[in-house]
């Protein structure tokens, strides 16, 4: 039997919050929390909603059905506690979104951040330099040369030259561009903050990379490393 079947599901109360968790060898390996919140729906009415938060499973205990068991127990408890509805904040780009849908959750409202880059050239320089410093891609990119155009709408394009693992921002468009990357300033920052992956951004057509195939692939690898560093860090 897998841990998903044998782990003991426990609960504990902290203030107004209740934590539901799976315990394996006395360790909390998968958990969900919930607590009461007011949700106004008009001048004369509000509902008491069960706010679901803190959903997580330790990496080695994923894909064993554990999160589903913990979530099922949470939903049973929430119903037992007399809540008429439950809600949570999440992202469409994470795996758990599918699980929430299976439990009857429906997308109700979007939170779309508005973004302004304060200095696009400086932000690009810092982002590219940081990516090239990541040891998982640094060796791979150490002898790579590439002229990059970055169009972060609505800002004007910025240009960079990558050579010997270093980034040099250019004040003018170089004669030849090897790779042209287009995305919004928002997508750039979401990638930079590790909030979405390159794969997601490409699949959702938030990002396009055109030019010499190998350079495109290497640059996307570098962008991807930023996401891994944030998620694993």
């Amino acid at each position: 039997m897998s841990d998903g079947d044998t782990a003991e599901i426990k609960t504990r109360q902290r203030g107004t919050w209740r934590r539901v968790y799976a315990e394996v060898d006395e360790s909390d390996v998968s958990h969900v929390s919930y607590g009461p919140h007011r949700f106004p729906l008009g001048p004369k009415g509000e509902v008491r909603i069960a706010g679901i938060a803190g959903v997580g499973t330790e990496p080695e205990f994923r894909r064993k059905g554990l999160a589903r068991r913990v979530f099922q127990r949470t939903m049973d408890d929430v119903k037992g506690a007399g809540y008429s509805c439950a809600g949570l904040f999440t992202s469409t780009s994470i795996v758990a979104h599918r699980m929430y849908r299976r439990f009857g959750y429906v997308d109700v409202a979007c939170n779309r951040p508005w973004v302004k880059l304060l200095d696009p050239a400086r932000a690009c320089s810092k982002a590219l330099s940081g990516m090239l410093r990541d040891e998982r891609v640094a060796e791979h990119l150490s002898r790579w040369q590439c002229a990059v155009e970055l169009r972060l709408s609505p800002h004007p394009a910025v240009y960079a030259k990558i050579q010997d693992g270093r980034v040099k921002m250019l004040s003018r468009r170089p004669r030849a561009i090897d790779v042209s990357v287009k995305m919004s300033a928002t997508t750039f920052m979401l990638l930079r903050e590790g909030m979405i992956s390159v794969e997601y951004a490409q699949a959702a057509r938030l990002l396009s990379c055109e030019g010499e195939a190998e350079s495109c692939e290497r640059l996307m690898q570098a962008f991807g490393s930023a996401h891994r560093v944030v998620r694993e860090g």
Binding site: L41, G82, S84, P113, W114, A185, L190, M195
Partner: protein
């Protein structure tokens, strides 16, 4: 009017003890027409921003997190900015930006945003993120004018599920009665069956009164919602017309036009704003 003229007499300063009342009042007035934003008191607003947490900055640690716009000694706007937002290393996050409905309000909001940008720069941040309701046209106009851009694909979402339809509608019984009265149906008398997926509830409407029951025989109006349309319609994020156009809602009634009017009045679309400091 020139920009300098419009900003004449406008002062922007950091939060001071005693400002809570003015800030809470502004918050409540500016979020009044929005679902999702729970009204605050001076004390509860202060409590939300006392300590740095994942969803709010700490005013006790940094008074600059709340910057107030003042004209003639009166607070007419404020911006609440988290310069160390959870999981964001390179961004400053303006999570509340509210301005009274005064002349030149857009200019006041722009001045507060510019102020936040300067402070973000001084803190070596690369960008300023701004959280707005997707349905706040005025705030969006200001953001656009200040060169902010919106992501067309929203990845952050609020999801909800209705666990007990009867209990849910009972909680908002008084609000439903208000909607009927304000929808010009104050004199209407009848019963409405509401079906969401496999759940059912009934509303009994009499002049000036509405009660929620578990079931009703031979309803005057019957509205049936597909499970995926239930929460968006009940939370006011999808209109009856939108759900109908998507094939997720049907209305049956002897007097169909009247039935549609009743359902429209009961479940109107309302703008929603989910203040980050109130996220859970």
């Amino acid at each position: 009017m020139q920009m300098a003229e419009r900003r004449k007499g406008l002062a922007i300063r950091s939060f001071r003890e005693g400002d809570e009342e003015a800030v809470a009042g502004l918050f409540n007035r500016c979020t009044e027409g929005f679902s999702g934003a729970a009204s605050v008191t001076a004390e509860s607003w202060r409590e939300e921003v006392r300590e740095q947490s994942w969803n709010a900055p700490s005013l006790d640690a940094d008074r600059d997190c709340a910057r107030l716009a003042e004209r003639d000694g009166k607070v007419i706007g404020y911006a609440l900015t988290d310069y160390q937002p959870y999981e964001l290393k390179h961004a400053a996050l303006v999570q509340e930006l509210f301005v009274e409905d005064v002349e030149g309000a857009d200019e006041v909001a722009a001045a507060l945003l510019e102020d936040a940008e300067k402070r973000a720069c001084a803190r070596d941040k690369e960008c300023v993120m701004l959280l707005l309701s997707p349905e706040d046209g005025r705030a969006q106009r200001v953001a656009k004018a200040c060169a902010f851009s919106e992501e067309s694909d929203g990845t952050g979402i609020f999801m909800a599920t209705i666990l007990d339809l009867v209990a849910f509608l009972k909680e908002i019984e008084e609000e439903l009665a208000r909607r009927i009265a304000d929808g010009g149906l104050g004199g209407w008398e009848g019963t409405v069956r509401v079906v969401v997926g496999e759940q059912e509830a009934a509303l009994r409407v009499r002049p000036g009164k509405l009660s929620v029951e578990e079931t009703v025989d031979g309803p005057d109006v019957s509205v049936s919602l597909a499970p995926e349309a239930g929460p968006p319609v009940l939370f006011g994020q999808m209109s009856v017309g939108e759900a109908y156009a998507q094939g997720s809602l049907s209305v049956t009634a002897e007097d169909r036009a009247q039935g549609l009017r009743v359902v429209d009045a009961l479940f109107p679309r309302r703008p929603m704003f989910l203040p980050r400091a109130q996220w859970w």
